[in-house]
Amino acid sequence: MSEKLHAFIQQMTQVKLHLNPGEQLVSLIQSTFELEAAAIYDADMQKVYEAGEWFAEMENIIRNVYFFESVADDPETGMVRRVLRIGNLPVGALLLRGEMDSQTSSSLADLVAITFDRYHSHANVNRTESARQTEQMRTTVLDSLAHAYKTPLTAIRAASTGLHAMGNLTSAQIQMVQLIDEQSGVLDELTSRLLTTARLEDHDLALHKERVFILPLIEDVVAGCRAILMGRRVNICVSRESLSICCDRDLFLALLTQYVENAGKYSTGDSPIAIRVAEDPGEIILSVHNFGPVIQPADQECVFDRFFRCADTAGRVSGTGIGLSVAKQAAQAHGGDVWLTSDATTGTTFFASFPIDPKGTSEP
């Protein structure tokens, strides 16, 4: 090993990995090996670092070294070209002008590549940690917000229903109390929806996938929607009892709850609701069917947009126009989709497709 290479390795221990090492390494190479000029191309960041006197075309040359893997020593111009590799994978290039033997320049290229790799791993660990902390902080803030909003709503609800339960109210007073109660219910729903939406936006960071059994989840959602379903009959049909998919449970739950709540709210008379899950190659198709007001073709495109509400029903049924946009977001985050059909004869059906993760499916 040349003395200069030995000196370089010793100096490399001083490189600060929390800072981009490109600038530090290129100056170190130029000074230690007493070169006229040195340049490093970091393909990951698409950046060129340089030290010494370079000509204008240098950047093109060094990029070409990386792209065309043109490794060469050119004694006439005194240029040394090396590709930086981690294993077999090219990660950048090294271009030197000055005197350096072929073996030393190859060793130098290996050392620079390893340093870049260490830097990137270090940066990735920090990125993951910072994303985790952001998510945790967000959950904490949302939990406090939920508590802050639910407290006055609980007091209002307890007071208005308490007043009603005490009795002896005139008809006008009963109507006023009823109005307070209804509107606090609307506010409660709005709060829950907004918090759910905000929570789900966390999932932009990562889908928390797990194996989810479909039938028990549907049973839970239906049981949780009893108040909205008001005794309405619900038929559940799943292709097989043990059907499971690999998905983000919270997102799937948000979609399913939204579909079932909507079916409950918009059903007419005592018509039943049907929840079906069928298996298609590579995906499951969930559908929730009810008989109720027809969603006009022009509106069918928009119902999944945030804050959109159908003009026909907006005044009659309470809602926020948020839930279905969350449902769409949930399906699309998994690579699935949402759609609907609606006409007076066959009723309204909301569909969602979710890919079956091959590792997450249960055996039939």
């Binding site: 508590h147 639910k150 007091a155 229903t161 339960a165 839970d220 108040a227």
Partner: protein, 253 residues
């Protein structure tokens, strides 16, 4: 039940909630005492007697869960109902497994709150039944001495495990039973996480005891928490985690 008013200890750090509940409960024939912290609740329970405690799960200081555990140690049979919010299923499960009798999800109506209080107090005041005493709920009759279940007087054929599940749920009727405690009781502690296994049995059981298994009247699901065998199959609140405003007013006016 005694004719003296039911004494309720209200533990919540939010004074608005305590105020609304206390005024309503007092006016409706209960006697409500307020505590703003778990520590205060423990002092009160040491010096006075209460028929039931409404305990907020999320409080500063000692917090709802720790207070629950200490209250349970002080008064093993005193009903404790947790006040929780939506989307906190894991807290509900934890509270039930730490000895809470039930939970009420905020915001709730006074009707629901009172129904839960009365049901918990009634259960606590019912003398312990003997192991072999029959249990009759609606049209379903459990005869432990003969390990038999009848519906409308006709015997229903149950497997051993189905019977054990039904026995546990019917002898705990009205209470939310978590998946884990049911699994632990019927299969043993090492099976406490086999929820899917349990669900399959419950599905079979519903086919045998319910008129319409998709819309059960007896064996109800407490979403994400567990099961609850109703005390009142003709309606009422035992299976509801919340009751809609409209329903509340329609059924009472």
């Amino acid at each position: 039940m005694s004719s003296a008013p039911i004494r309720v200890l209200l533990v919540d750090d939010e004074s608005a909630i305590r105020r609304a509940l206390r005024i309503s409960l007092d006016e409706l024939g209960f006697e409500a005492v307020e505590a703003s912290r778990g520590e205060e609740a423990l002092l009160l329970v040491r010096s006075e007697s209460f028929d039931v405690v409404l305990l907020d799960i999320q409080m500063p200081g000692m917090g709802g869960m720790k207070t629950l555990v200490r209250l349970r140690a002080l008064a093993p049979r005193m009903p404790i109902l947790m006040l929780t919010v939506q989307d906190s299923e894991e807290h509900k499960v934890e509270a039930l497994e730490c000895g809470a009798d039930d939970y009420i999800t905020k915001p709730f109506s006074i009707r629901e709150c009172i129904a839960r209080i009365r049901s918990a107090v009634r259960r606590a005041q019912t003398p312990e039944r003997s192991e072999d005493a029959p249990v009759q709920i609606g049209e379903v009759q459990l005869l432990p001495a003969r390990r038999t279940v009848n519906k409308r007087g006709k015997p229903i054929h149950l497997t051993k495990k189905e019977y054990d599940i039904l026995h546990y749920l019917m002898t705990h009727a009205g209470r939310a039973v978590t998946y884990r405690s049911l699994l632990g009781s019927v299969w043993g502690a090492e099976y406490r996480d086999e929820v899917d296994y349990l669900r399959t049995f419950v599905r079979q059981l519903r086919k045998k005891i319910e008129d319409d298994p998709s819309n059960p009247r007896y064996l109800l699901t407490d979403p994400y928490v567990g099961y609850r065998f109703t005390e009142n199959p003709e309606g009422g609140v035992s299976g509801f985690s919340s009751i809609s405003t409209r329903q509340d007013f329609e059924s009472s006016s």
